[in-house]
Symmetry: D2
Subunit: 387 residues, 4 copies
């Protein structure tokens, strides 16, 4: 039988649920070198955490993360907490020799992110930053195409991540809308994803020009706040609090060692877009377009097709020929959002006990954070800023 590794997950909300599912499912569809054990779920409220552990499949619970990260029987710390907690938790976990998976963005600030990277490097532990969209079979296929030169020289990246869950001004304040807890708004939450995808597919961004905007300046305060899961809490509040993060960020980008031009938009104010994480890449030999709302497909234009047969193909990325897919269902039978996390955890486990490093690591997380940092600077300085 395989060696087992004990996992402790901190955070039981939206991301806690996706990570739990991934830990539960990974062994049933993949063949990781070690077998993960869902040892412990940690969150602030004991009763709620117990209930969540029962539903999500965790053996134990705790409300004291500082103790958890020290436990001898824990091998992996998985962080699904609000952003401001990433740095202290990850650093303590690393100090205690734990492998660490951390949700994105890596930290609230570049400084914190760099400390986290130092901590995992010093400790020599495996580390991953949860830019999970990299694990979409469509994205993986596009990566292979670009690396194989199939798109030629890349002229343009055009990316947007559009959502609409807080367009209603009565949607209440929550941790994602406060600088102290979230670091930034749309920028760090979803702009981070398209930035990381551009890094993954195209290369590192070297400079940016930007603007940010907060369309709704203050919002109702509701006990407990509201989450992305719950649009229904609005309207009960009597007090209002300031929104201290951006609702939207737009930026132009140039890339290291390339003349590729990038335009980026991250917004929670695009009505009709539920989770439109979209990247378009135009190269001398062809072009690709992908978005997560239609996550099972991508569009591909091959400049080498005959002139009167050319056009963007809708490729269903559901074929056994696409990365990860052979582990799931036959061609044409879609996987969903949560599968990306299964792939992520599989990739994380794959490197344990070996010298392999699977990406995105904390280093990738820091690279992304540098861009976010430069975007915020550029929005203030009103000029291009180096990353």
């Amino acid at each position: 039988p395989k060696k087992t590794v004990n996992v402790a997950l901190i955070g039981k909300a939206f991301m806690g649920k996706t990570h739990s599912n991934a830990w539960r499912q990974v062994q049933h569809f993949f063949d990781p070198p070690v077998m993960p054990v869902m040892k412990l779920l940690c969150d602030v409220n004991l009763e709620e955490t117990k209930a969540a552990a029962a539903v999500l499949g965790w053996q134990e619970v705790s409300t004291d993360w500082k103790e958890v990260v020290k436990r001898k029987d824990i091998d992996i710390i998985d962080l699904a907490t609000p952003n401001f907690l990433h740095a202290p938790m990850a650093i303590e976990a690393a100090k205690n020799g734990k492998h660490v998976i951390c949700e994105k963005p890596l930290a609230n600030t570049l400084k914190e992110a760099e400390k986290m990277l130092k901590a995992v490097k010093d400790a020599g532990v495996k580390n991953m930053c949860g830019y999970t969209y990299r694990f979409n079979p469509a994205i993986q296929t596009i990566k292979k195409m670009i690396d194989g030169g199939e798109l030629g020289n890349l002229f343009h990246v055009r990316a947007t991540y559009q959502q609409d869950w807080i367009v209603d001004p009565d949607f209440p304040l929550n941790w994602r809308l406060e600088k102290a807890t979230a670091g930034s708004g749309a920028l760090g939450d979803i702009g981070a994803h398209i930035t990381d995808l551009a890094h993954f597919l195209v290369g590192e961004i070297s400079e940016v020009s930007a603007a940010t905007e907060t369309f709704v300046k203050e919002r109702p305060i509701v006990a407990g706040g509201a989450t992305i899961d719950d649009k229904k809490l609005a309207g009960k509040a009597t007090k209002k609090g300031a929104v201290t993060v951006d609702d939207a960020a737009i930026y132009l980008a140039r890339f290291k060692g390339k003349n590729t031009l990038g335009t980026f938009e991250a917004t929670r104010f695009a009505p009709g877009r539920r989770n439109y994480n979209c990247i378009e890449i135009y190269g001398s030999k062809g072009s690709v377009i992908w978005n997560q709302e239609d996550m099972h497909q991508f569009l591909y234009y091959n400049g080498a097709d005959k002139p009167d047969r050319q056009g963007f193909r809708k490729v269903l990325a559901t074929d056994p020929a696409h990365p990860f897919v052979s582990h799931w269902w036959p061609s044409g039978h879609n996987i969903g959002y949560e599968h990306l996390f299964v792939h992520e955890m599989y990739e994380f486990l794959r490197q344990l006990g070996s010298k392999t490093v699977t990406h995105p690591t904390f280093e990738d997380g820091v690279k992304c954070q540098r861009v976010l940092d430069a975007v915020e600077k550029a929005a203030k300085s009103r000029r291009w800023e180096k990353v």
Copy 2:
């Protein structure tokens, strides 16, 4: 200077307008061997016909078609009249040695259609039946692909022609809804088009099974009736009359010398579909999908593409490489519906003075009529009928 040919158009309604535009435009974009002169417009009401001729660009008018088809100075008779008038007019025109263009369906009945064919053959005049969708550059490209074997053996044809202009039960009776004038309803009006497209692209239909339905059995009678152009007349009427044609026809088909299976639907009762003339063809090497609402494009699946890059391409049929397009605008600059008639008239003129025969001829019209006839038979007999 080129030789001129004088055209007389009979009928000034919807089809009269499209044909007039084609005669007016053809010389400005194409280089026909002879130059058409818009000599005469003929319709029943003198004042209205005069007004129409002024707007549409005809030199003279007449209300007496029998005289017109005898005029020495007329070379081409172009029929844009209700279906029941096609046979008498075309036959007289042919007898008088005129080349004849006739709107589709060729006739109200197969018998009439066959007489018309005999008449043009006996007279040795050029003849065309207006299945104008053949002249869409997308369709022409698909034709080339199929003829070149690019789709391999054809397994399936799946066609529908859906409209929704008479869904409202208060839409009044008009000539298109009466058997005496229209012969049939959706079947002959739009089912004829998909039948002809299948003939053009796949081959001749050899047998059919069918059903037809009239969803709205009677409708208001309004002075003058209502046309496809005018949904607004409804509601003023006090009397109702019987709808004596089908509102929808569906049929299965087999093809001569092939094991291709066909499913066809023609309906004026598909809300949301304005002019959805759609044909899908699946072959051993690839597949194509086209519809006229998005007339500037077609979808093409090439089975020879790499497994993880396969998918239906949206080909913009607006490139100079596509038939007819080089006469119009640069790539990506769409042509519209009426251009198909310009192509049709160009193709008609191209054969004058030569032995070339450009299709669709009256013979094609008769072949289509045979299928419509078999569909009507099959709907009644409730069994497969030979064409």
Copy 3:
């Protein structure tokens, strides 16, 4: 703690894998009244079944289904076996008082299906026939719309289920291509699905006209045969065997007590279509279009929208407002194919211990089988046949 129910699954191939996942996941996302225990996996080869049980999460294994269906400690028999085994297994299971879930089509023949229905009725056990696409949130929403009258009177159903996994003539024979094991080909495998969807959404089909075709008459025989999962076995064989089922079936349909017209196509010979289960419904007030390749969405046309704002909406059926979705992820975060089985098992469990009956039952399975039977008859008789 909840009462538990022990499940025995028979069959470990494609459907065995989807059902196993559903049993494993249902309690983590839904709150069924009883807790399913994955007691036993049964299949023919002991070693393979042991290996599968380990991966899929079953406690025990067996190779003797007759013993399994008698075991006192088993509450639910779940059949994921080839079609010809459905009848004997389901009947024995029912006789032994087990609740039964049976993959579709219910049986190889209408006669068998009726016996199965009688068996579960006599035994008074809960029963379900696995028309799993009913459980897509998009389909459930469409059902609500139709039942609520939002589409008005239904004029047309246009359905196709297209796949392309056996277009290659070197794809080997397997149980799905032989009449003895599968009953029929595309008809019973995928035609059954669109027939059931039409029954669910529109009403019962009352008569049909049909044609079937086998494009590839014989295929290589490979040890073990090939499954839908594995296109790679072809080419090694030296012997060929006859394909004894249809590769494609097309049929026209009329519905009980309605003047709705239906056209249906089921084929494994539509290159480019991986799993294109598509249904279009046109009604006097609006229309809907859905297909399983893009399973997370449907198109909806509302005839009451303003004239210049009308059009088919692409509704992402991923909102908490859509059935089942609130159990999964926030709006815009897709579920996949296997989730439909989780919904199915939840719906099955929901009725245990109560008088509720959740559909599709064996009775629904029989109704569908009657149509399949009539289609086969009509294809032979070449006339319309009553269901």
Copy 4:
């Protein structure tokens, strides 16, 4: 009979062809207050101009524009010449009391543009700058929706104009690729269009940040140069010349008196995009998306639709209810690219002899030019620049 106005067109290339068609067609579909007469075509080569006049339908020809603009019998000067000729020609025409239509961009520089504006104002002549996409029925409908408050407060404009006609580095130099003749590259040619559309639909841009890039720095010189119509000339050249304009321009924008954020991209280096002029607008009540490759439609999201029925509608802008459409064909029968110019000329004629001013005027042209100017400045200064 109506008063006639004599038109002289200068320039017979791509734009000369579209304008000629518009003058030829406008009276047949619209009812302008005056009747245009196609008096004279002017271009540099006498023989070519004679031939063009014959095909395009002009009565006379000239090669001396300075004489033409002075002719007493000319009422309207229509400029379809390379950009650097707009200013001298328009100014002379205005001085001679001619009404002027000028292709876009208005001029090579802001300074020139302002002089042109002064000239037409001083002369009191009617003037139009050819931002023809404004006249698409889809765009007109979107304009009505925004002006009527149907989209609410506008949060985002996301626009791109992508083409791919010069991706091949062997495509030769032409006037559009040299600063002296074109002023700028993608920016002034197509960036101008999306800028004008944003002005039309959203409001005036007040500041920008930008980057531009020339991907192919030098190109073959071919006798006569190559036009957008002709990709085939490349490869014959032995000499190369510098490309002195941008191949692509990207810019962020803010708007006067609004907190709307804009991202813009204009490029001739987007393989697969033939003429993808695309604008997306997101507002508090709804969103719209349109592109010219699919010019007959737009997408519309209405935030007021029921939660489980929401989604982007594909509105076919081909209904008589859409502006201009009732003059053409029945619903679902598309118009094409050239029709936009017919609308433009109709709108121009509509104001003659009245006090009405139809847009876009030279003033609109200057406003657009100011943005282009600021974009070029910002690309150099690497900071936000006021318009």
